[in-house]
């Protein structure tokens, strides 16, 4: 986790939220955007939302979609053509997952990549409380998310 990249946003109750991008796979530019609030009195951190950022696309914006995305990744070739985010492709007897997104270059994920991404995803929740995220999830609007990405220099091709 890159703590120097933490920036602040506030939910509708004025509670300060933080965002940290967690790299799931650097080669494929797949990030988990971790949104959480911190209670300094009881020294607890609460997850408020999770987003998936792939190259130049925010693929999921709600917690349930993100969990769905990770579970399809976990199932790998056990999944079927009802998958929402991945389709299973086979090349020389090797099965891969192909992302169903509009992108110039298609993105394939191998089994080891999928396993490692799922592992990092589970590790990302260590030390965080999941109590609030289901009942009080922070819902993004396009404007807030755009501002957030801009403030975090994530709208720049080349970081200054």
């Amino acid at each position: 986790m890159a703590y120097d990249q933490i920036i602040k946003i506030y939910d509708e109750d004025g509670i300060e939220l933080k965002i940290v991008p967690i790299a799931l796979n650097l080669d494929k530019n797949i990030y988990l955007l971790h949104i959480f609030e911190e209670n300094y009195n009881i020294k607890k951190k609460y997850i408020r939302n999770e987003l998936i950022l792939i190259e130049e696309q925010i693929l999921t914006s709600t917690f349930s979609d993100t969990v769905h995305f990770m579970e399809e990744l976990f199932l790998f070739d056990v999944g079927n053509n009802q998958n929402k985010y991945f389709e299973i492709s086979q090349y020389k007897n090797t099965k891969n997952l192909k992302l169903k997104i509009d992108n110039e270059n298609s993105i394939f994920i191998s089994k080891s990549e999928a396993r490692s991404m799922y592992k990092i995803y589970n590790l990302a929740f260590v030390g965080y409380s999941m109590a609030i995220v289901l009942e009080n999830e922070f819902k993004f609007t396009p404007q807030i998310l755009t501002k957030l990405l801009h403030d975090n220099n994530m709208l720049l091709k080349f970081k200054k």
Binding site: Q57, S61, T141, P142, Q143, L145, T146, H150, L155
Partner: protein, 262 residues
């Protein structure tokens, strides 16, 4: 007795001749005396002119200027003072045309897309649980680009003749308009540019400058350099294309000019 009468008559004649000559000599003296008297009187009559005290002209000259401080909300008001007031460029039609362009930049949210922006596609569920696709950009505010570019190029612009310098200033505004978008509607500024130059006396000169700039003429190198610096100096803003766009503000009538001291 007769002798006495003779003596008396002789004396009388002497007296008369004496009187005659005496009168004559008196008559000769009189006008001279009168003149000198008159002169003396005249000198006394001429009133002494009061000593003139000229006041120093301390009040400043007044010029017909627009009220940029209240009309323009952004920092473009400083640009008005830098271009118009500091150089006394109050000649028409340049003065009004430049102010019209400033007002247009001020009232509209025009933006220039950053060359280094990523275009991030966002799939976000809205409050009605509908998936909405939008795109996020990093943009510059066009008014900032105009202000900084003219500010950077001003020292080079002033090396030209007044007429040419003013044409270059208008041309820089038009170049920014060509680069800018109004809420990503690419068609909008084209007819605005045509509309702006329609009634302008020196429109052809402006078009010549635009052509020269397109060909990257070395004489206008300073304009290209000023633009580069403006893009480095100005801060970027986030922009999402799902934002509802404001209608384009079109100026119907220029605000009145006021006499102002400089």
């Amino acid at each position: 007795m007769s002798l006495l009468v003779l003596v008396v008559s002789v004396l009388f004649i002497f007296y008369k001749t004496y009187r005659f000559y005496a009168n004559k000599s008196e008559k000769k003296i009189e006008p001279k005396q009168a003149q000198s008297l008159e002169k003396k009187q005249n000198i006394e009559k001429i009133p002494k002119e009061p000593e003139q005290i000229y006041r120093l002209q301390t009040h400043k000259m007044k010029y017909l200027l627009y009220d940029a401080r209240s009309d323009l909300k952004s920092d473009l008001k400083y640009l008005y003072y830098e271009v118009i007031v500091n150089n006394f460029w109050i000649n028409e039609p340049f003065h009004s045309k430049f102010y019209e362009i400033l007002l247009m930049f001020d009232r509209n949210e025009l933006m220039v897309v950053d060359k280094n922006t990523k275009v991030i596609t966002m799939n976000i569920r809205d409050s009605n649980n509908k998936m909405i696709k939008s795109k996020a950009y990093q943009v510059f505010e066009a008014k900032n680009i105009v202000e900084v570019t003219i500010d950077e190029a001003m020292s080079d612009i002033l090396r030209f003749e007044k007429q040419e310098a003013q044409t270059i200033v208008i041309a820089i505004c038009i170049i920014v308009l060509e680069k800018s978008l109004h809420y990503l509607s690419r068609e909008m500024p084209q007819w605005i540019i045509a509309d702006l130059l329609k009634n302008y006396e020196h429109a052809n000169d402006v078009k010549c400058i635009l052509d020269l700039n397109d060909k990257k003429d070395h004489r206008l190198f300073f304009v290209q350099k000023a633009f580069q610096e403006a893009f480095q100096i100005c801060e970027t803003e986030p922009y999402n294309d799902s934002e509802t766009s404001d209608p384009f503000y079109i100026l119907k009538k220029l605000p009145p000019k006021y006499l102002r001291e400089i």
